[in-house]
Amino acid sequence: MTDQSLFSLRNPWFSAGVGITGAIVVLSAVAGLIWLPLMQPDLKLVGIWDAICSAAGVPRAAGPGASIKPDFKTSNVEMTSEMLTQADQVSIGRGATLAQRCAICHGPQGVSDANSPNLAGQFAAVTYKELNDFKAGARVNVVMSPFAAAMTDQDMKDVAAYYAYLPRVPSKSLDTALPAPAIVATGAPMRNIPPCGSCHGDIDNKAGSPWLGGQSEVYIKAQLQAFASGGRRNDISQQMRNIARQMTSDEIDQAARYYAAQP
């Protein structure tokens, strides 16, 4: 037998090989794409073509009313890892001027004892997102909301770039010898809580997660409580609400104290 006759119906290896393979394909396709989907009443299929499309994974447009609109404003910022990582000097300079109105609470160097966030060295994308959310109403604060309402998009970018440019200053409660509590180092897998550091630095930094080292203990605690109670809900996809709801009040205290003591 030569190779020429290999691809010929007279070659039993060819006809059997192709025939059996083809038969298995047809049988499994009929079973998987037609028969099995039609057996499932929950799918509410209207005929064979509908069954095939459903089993092949063709997406179906959701009908009106399929999605429930939240009765509160949600964040409209789309976060990416590279967002606002390259600031130019002009932007930083403009930001420095604009930031003078922030200094009364956030300190002239971006650090203060007012239990408001220390912004010096904060990732620009983080500051930008919060300003945006204050302006859009996704996050509400009696002091911040009016400030943000008057800012343009460029203003927010400039202020964020300026604060990112400032060096981080260790807080007064700096204590690097303080051991990381379990909730920070390992999270609580059974409650779906990842280690804080897997997003907020130390282990890894994820887009949009603020640097927490040296923040006010009172502020961190207040925010975790606000996430847990639903008072604050501008975390995209509810990451922080899901985590904070599962934390005990002791764990909230420990995490706040730990991060306040970090550089």
Binding site: T21, A55, T80, A182, P189
Partner: protein
């Protein structure tokens, strides 16, 4: 007739050095995540180690074994020097360089994405470039195997290609095609994002491409093992291969049906339709066929050897087998592990049963039992069998070899059986930390501690293995006979063209890939707005 001994030895030595490093990492991982260790490290270190362990064990180690063994088979079975010797060295250097390029960012913590990549996680581009270099290096081997195969056939028209070479080419062709999936994923999905050209990635499509590689790669790892079953084992125990044709059909079945089955890794993924998951499930079931044929043929070959040695009775012949022979021992232990691992695999491949074990420690147990157990123990056997012919020095530590093989078997069972069990209890995999004080997890603590002990046994076995090889390398010089493969009971004189060539089977392989992957891939490419923002790991810490 082995002429390029240096080339083959280089492959084996590099493979086993990589294996030794990855084995130490594996044992360390078993320990730190067990209740024997109070958690005290940064979990990123654990993922870094898992990435290095997986990349080394999955991409570098078996690829080098398949390549080295493939060159040995080419020269020994075709009885002529390898065609393309300098290309072979180039391939080797590319794999070695790729391994280094990939491992540097991993050890720096810049690519802790695990060896299966898991987009939308994105690591340092050099990690992926290193993996691509390893794959391209192995593609040189794929090409050389076919070139040598075709050249021999041209010189020997009408003659059957020796079984070992036929099977070797089957393995190389399977790898050549199955590696395309991961290559497409890296080149078109991951690398543009890793290099900063794009900041979002179609994670669903990338995972479908990876599944194209992810299951058939196991059969590529398996090929040297099956070749050793068919062509080394019967000769080593003084018997004959029961059927040459059956062996060819098994390898052909692997080529045809190992490819269109990878979506069973995506049973829990929403981007592939249930109908295609079912079709992949059906073909996954079919892959059991060549394995069952193989178990039958190998047991029949063992029985022939035993009866030749005077074995009697329906089961009495098993006692008469040469159990003190390391190859005999390795093959038997390998088949036991293949049996358990295969049974577990049948659970993973069924759509409904998989839901109970998907992404649990059961899966980790399954692939360690099959790959680390059944497959790697035969890599040891291959090395033991080939070493005297490569080094020109006898391997004489038979007692040490038997101890090593037994320890590997025991270690693998002690490691993986508890893993299967805790998987059924629901223990998730790919996690650095488990709070064993939690009442919901504490029942798993004892089993996890047991599997860590298994890891230690495996580490000792690995050390003994290297000791045997090093002692062999330093032993007294002696003349080894020409390297031979097992002779079948009925020597094939003329065989059908279908059992002596791959054209038809490659056509079926590609055809089935198109049928089972064509629509899911085309649909995901056509759909808009399926990309998600990349999650860069190891940056901005």
């Amino acid at each position: 007739m082995l002429t390029n001994k240096r080339l083959i030895l280089a492959h084996f030595w590099l493979a086993f050095i990589v294996f030794a490093v990855a084995l130490v990492l594996g044992a360390w991982q078993m320990f730190v995540r067990s209740p024997l260790n109070a958690w005290h490290i940064n979990p990123e270190l654990y993922y870094r180690s898992v990435t290095a362990h997986g990349s080394a064990m999955g991409y570098v180690f078996p690829t080098l074994i398949a390549m080295g063994f493939g060159y040995a088979i080419t020269e020994a079975s075709l009885e002529k020097p390898l065609v393309g010797r300098s290309w072979a060295w180039a391939g080797f250097l590319l794999v070695a360089a790729g391994a280094v390029v990939a491992m540097v960012p991993v050890s720096l913590g810049l690519a802790s994405v695990l060896y299966t990549f898991y987009p939308p996680m994105i690591g340092n581009p050099f990690y992926y470039i290193g993996v691509v270099m390893v794959v391209v290096g192995s593609w040189i081997w794929v090409a050389l195997m076919s070139i040598n195969f075709v050249a021999w056939k041209r010189e020997n028209p009408g003659k059957p290609v020796p079984l070992a070479m036929f099977a070797n080419v089957a393995g190389s062709l399977l790898w050549g095609w199955t590696a395309v999936g991961a290559a497409l994923e890296i080149l078109f999905q991951i690398l543009p994002v890793a290099l900063g050209l794009r900041s979002s990635i179609d994670a669903g499509l990338a995972r479908v491409f990876f599944s194209w590689t992810l299951h058939a790669i196991v059969y590529f790892w398996l090929m040297p093992t099956y070749i050793a079953y068919y062509t080394i084992f019967p000769r080593a125990i003084g018997g004959r291969l029961y059927s040459d044709a059956m062996a060819r059909i098994s390898f052909i079945l692997f080529v045809v049906v190992a490819m269109p089955i990878g979506v069973h890794h995506l049973f829990a993924d929403p981007q592939v339709g249930a109908g295609f998951k079912f079709m992949h499930s059906v073909f996954t079931g079919l892959v059991a066929l060549p394995t069952l044929l193989t178990v039958f043929t190998i047991c029949a070959s063992a029985e022939i050897a035993s009866r030749l040695r005077g074995g009697r009775g329906a089961f009495g012949w098993i006692k008469a087998l040469p159990w003190s022979n390391p190859i005999m021992l390795a093959t038997a232990l390998s088949l036991v592990m293949l049996g358990f691992g295969g049974a577990g695999g049948l659970i993973n491949m069924s759509y409904q049963l998989d839901t109970t074990v998907h992404n649990t420690q059961w899966i980790t147990g399954h692939f360690h039992l099959i790959f680390g157990g059944a497959i790697v123990i035969m890599y040891f056997a291959i090395a033991y069998d080939l070493w005297p012919h490569l080094t020109g020095r006898a391997l004489e530590s038979f007692g040490l070899m038997r101890t090593q093989l037994w320890l590997w078997f025991i270690g693998m069972i002690v490691t993986t059986f508890p893993w299967h069990y805790v998987g059924v209890l629901g223990m998730p995999r790919r996690m650095a930390f488990y709070d064993y004080a939690n009442p919901a997890i504490s029942p798993e603590a004892f089993s996890v501690a047991m599997s860590a002990v298994g890891g230690l046994i495996l580490l000792i076995s690995g050390a003994l293995f290297l000791l045997v090889l090093v002692r062999g390398q330093l032993g007294a010089r002696g003349e080894a006979d020409a390297y031979r493969f097992a002779v079948p009971l009925h020597m094939p004189v003329r065989i059908p063209a279908a059992l002596n060539s791959f054209g038809l089977w490659l056509a079926l392989m590609v055809g089935l890939t198109v049928v089972n992957y064509g629509f899911p891939i085309a649909q995901l490419i056509a759909l808009n707005e399926t990309s998600v923002p990349a999650v860069y790991v190891g940056v901005g810490r």
